[in-house]
């Protein structure tokens, strides 16, 4: 699971123009040739800083994203749904570990990343600041939020950083079950009793706007965006991922006789693009900066888990163990 990695803070890194021009040219030539960058290769400061930020946010999104669904495990309808949801939530936490490891190869220890999550310094996908009231909300997350994540992840797995690409390839394989499981749950509700259909429709109405936020605001092309695209850190723009998702999933929602709470939503057959009402980007900013329905709750759960697990970590920590940056 993954949200677009949006923050509004400027990234603190050396300007690429101040880098050694020879090393920079070799680095860019390598990417141009379609080769991956490995941890011990020389890389520009901006490349390293942006990747750490992206991968770290991605990892936090997996951890926090497991919370709204995690609470539904005990209440999932039926034994098989419980098993599947438990397996899915375990996958999400596993994905976080894969991603923390990929970010660690760039020089930031996992512990430092977890500290930054808990202190609120680093962000996670905004969509998880909204509540999952009903089983249908959980089904929406499993199907459509994961679908959005897969669009992002498939694109990013074509990126230039070796460890991140490898982690994403594994994640994408695992996510395919999440998507099918989520769709299965939604089909069940949508083709079920009037009460089940109503529950599903209400979930779609609640989640539509956060889902449109999920891919991030329309891209303002900055100097950095160009550079990061050239370096294959950013692969698709926010609008491109949103369009892909709309194209793949809106017809599937409509197929089930469900509606989407946007009467402007339609595919323009001439341009091939989806037209929609812009979601409220002010709300998006407000929620990212802490003022959403569940921000406090999500971080409180994380903090409590950290506090309560501390004695275990202390007990198992070998005194003479020393930490080094992992290899790949």
């Amino acid at each position: 699971m993954y949200g677009g990695g949006n923050t509004f803070e400027k990234i603190k890194a050396k300007d690429p123009n101040e880098e050694d021009p020879i090393l920079l040219a070799e680095f860019e030539a390598r990417i141009e040739r379609g080769e991956k960058i490995e941890p011990t290769d020389w890389m520009p400061d901006l490349y390293r800083a942006q990747l750490i930020r992206m991968i770290e946010q991605h990892a936090h999104s997996e951890i926090i994203g497991a919370l709204p669904e995690g609470t539904w495990i005990t209440r999932a309808p039926g034994f098989k749904r419980k098993l599947a949801l438990m397996a899915k939530v375990q996958d999400e936490v596993g994905h976080a570990q894969l991603l923390y490891s990929a970010a660690e190869t760039l020089g930031k220890p996992r512990e430092a990343m977890i500290d930054d999550l808990i202190s609120g310094k680093s962000k996670y996908s905004n969509i998880f600041n909204y509540p999952a009231f009903t089983w249908a909300d959980s089904a929406f997350i499993s199907w459509l939020v994961d679908a959005g994540a897969i669009v992002n992840q498939v694109a990013n797995s074509r990126g230039s950083y070796g460890p991140y690409s490898r982690a994403l390839e594994r994640i994408c394989i695992e996510e395919s079950f999440h998507l099918k499981f989520g769709h299965h749950c939604v089909i069940h509700l949508a083709t079920g009793t009037p009460a089940q259909r109503k529950m599903m429709q209400e979930a779609i109405n609640r989640w539509w706007h956060p889902m449109m936020h999920f891919f991030g605001p329309p891209d303002k092309m900055s100097v950095h965006t160009d550079t990061l695209m050239k370096w294959k850190v950013k692969i698709l723009t926010n609008d491109e991922t949103r369009q892909q998702w709309l194209d793949m999933y809106v017809p599937k929602v409509w197929e089930l006789g469900l509606t989407i709470p946007d009467n402007k939503l339609r595919k323009n057959e001439e341009t091939g693009k989806w037209e929609y009402t812009e979601p409220d980007w002010e709300e998006f900013k407000r929620v990212i900066n802490g003022d959403g329905p569940c921000n406090k709750e999500r971080l409180a759960v994380r903090k409590t888990a950290e506090e309560r697990g501390r004695w275990v970590r202390k007990a198992i920590l070998a005194k003479d163990a020393h930490y080094v940056t992992p290899l790949a």
């Binding site: 596993g94 512990e111 079950f177 099918k180 089909i187 409180a300 080094v324 992992p326 790949a328």
Partner: protein
């Protein structure tokens, strides 16, 4: 909307807990590199890392992390600093070009891993007996298949690995039964078709 929905909250009274965030220095566990054998006929390849206090626990975490979803026939774990890493070479240039082959072996068994393409995992290349990691590369050049350019090599003493044994393998016996983890287990099209047919009838 401040109403807490998480059922754990009512039980734990979470907001009353004293939470000040981390105050002590990093309790970072060391990392272990994990190599996985997907099926009996395959070769071990690097899958990633886990954080653990020792290599036995590293194995437990690795089992959860890397053999939960795919078949598995064996896992090796080793603490990161115990791996000697060769320099990376450019494409088509083998790191062995700069190594003097040696027919003279040593006493200590070493495992050698090769990376043949950037972006791909390191794969197990074989075992040699040598006196040091550098010597192991010299022996490897003479003893192993190095016909394709090797872009990077990892060398580590066999005694530093934690390896699963034959008996351990039964922990993976039930993997194929866990079909609820497979996408193919969730077929919905028949239900959609029936639903659409019903709707067409009524409308």
């Amino acid at each position: 909307m401040e109403k807490v929905l998480d059922p754990r909250f009512q039980r734990l009274d979470i907001f009353k807990a004293q939470i000040n965030g981390p105050t002590e220095k990093l309790d970072q566990l060391p990392t272990f590199e994990v190599f996985v054998l997907l099926r009996e006929a395959g070769i071990y390849q690097h899958e990633g890392i886990v954080h653990a206090p020792d290599r036995e626990m590293a194995f437990l975490f690795a089992k959860e992390q890397f053999s939960r979803r795919q078949t598995c026939a064996g896992i090796w774990t080793i603490e990161t600093p115990n791996i000697f890493v060769s320099p990376y070479s450019e494409n088509k240039v083998s790191i062995y070009d700069a190594v003097q082959a040696s027919a003279e072996t040593g006493n200590e068994p070493y495992k050698i891993f090769h990376m043949l393409k950037r972006g791909k995992q390191h794969k197990y290349a074989g075992k040699v007996h040598a006196n040091s990691p550098e010597h192991a590369l010299q022996v490897a050049k003479a003893a192993l298949d190095v016909s394709k350019p090797v872009l990077n090599a990892w060398v580590a003493r066999e005694s530093d690995f934690f390896e699963t044994s034959e008996e351990d393998k039964e922990i993976w016996n039930t993997l194929p039964e866990k079909t609820f983890r497979e996408a193919i287990d969730y077929k919905g099209q028949a239900k959609i078709d029936a639903f659409l047919a019903e709707n067409n009838k009524t409308s």
